[in-house]
């Protein structure tokens, strides 16, 4: 029983609790907050693995930007407690058992071959100094393309979310 394992389990417990809570809550804002908790726990996990840059990104981008966006939208749309309506039988009947089955299978396989070795704490050199060269040398093309992707996403979001023209333009009276 080492500290590494204890810390891992602690963070894991928080993450799983947050995930389950996301499912259990009815109001979307509660779900959003649980998701933030999950992300924070995952950031801890990344730190345990030694990926500091990724952990920082997780907090800044994911928890700090994306989730804030979610919360803003929830506020904007005044989303309330979701009602109970007729759902999809297929989803309940096939989807959940399917997902659970899939994950159980994967877990079983993974645990059976648990002789995959152990990951020491802080195994990764995850400082920006090591990631930077990777990003700008081998992965330059995806980097540039994702920047274009973000640009398009911004434009798309602006267009989609803008208010539509309120009234049709009246026809010109001249000629």
């Amino acid at each position: 029983m080492n500290v590494h394992l204890i810390l891992f389990l602690a963070f894991a417990a928080v993450a799983v609790a947050g995930a389950v809570n996301l499912l259990a809550q009815t109001h979307p804002i509660n779900s959003a907050l649980s998701l933030i908790a999950v992300m924070a726990a995952l950031a801890g996990e990344y730190l345990l693995l030694g990926a500091e840059f990724v952990a920082a990104l997780q907090v800044i981008v994911y928890a700090g930007a994306v989730m804030v966006l979610f919360v803003f939208v929830i506020m904007l749309l005044n989303a309330g407690v979701e009602e109970r309506t007729q759902g999809s039988r297929v989803a309940i009947l096939f989807g959940i058992p399917g997902a659970v089955l899939g994950s159980v299978l994967v877990a079983w396989v993974v645990l059976r071959h648990s002789g995959t070795g152990e990951v020491p704490a802080g195994a990764l050199p995850g400082v920006p100094a090591t990631i930077g060269p990777l990003l700008f040398h081998e992965f330059l093309l995806p980097f540039e393309i994702t920047s274009i992707l973000i640009l398009i996403a911004i434009m798309g979001a602006v267009v989609l979310a803008s208010t539509p023209p309120s009234a049709p333009v009246p026809p010109r009276e001249e000629n």
Binding site: L49, V54, S88, I92, V106, G117, V119, I131, I154, A161
Partner: protein
């Protein structure tokens, strides 16, 4: 020392919760959050494998996943706003005009 498999199992649990949430929830925003949860689970397994095999490329991949997730969340939420404007509902079951 934590075996790699523990990380993978955790990742699998998060992913499964995401899928189940996607299937159960009726509010479109909550469904989106389930998607984010799924992406997080996947990120974790990426980083775990990167640490196991000492392949730094795994982290870079996580970087890209986050970027794409952010873009996708942005556009998705914009669509939700647009749909809300016309449909006045956030219930995904009531937006089913694509049926036959």
């Amino acid at each position: 020392m934590v075996p790699l498999s523990y990380y993978l199992v955790l990742s699998g649990i998060l992913f499964t919760c995401g899928v189940v949430g996607f299937l159960i929830k009726r509010n479109i925003i909550t469904i989106f959050m389930s998607i984010e949860l799924m992406l997080n689970g996947v990120n974790l397994s990426f980083v775990a494998f990167a640490a196991h095999w000492h392949a730094l490329a795994g982290q870079v991949f996580v970087f890209f996943v986050m970027v794409v997730a952010a873009a996708e969340a942005t556009v998705g939420l914009a669509i939700i706003i647009a749909v809300y404007r016309t449909r006045e509902t956030l219930n995904v079951d009531q937006v089913d005009l694509l049926k036959l």
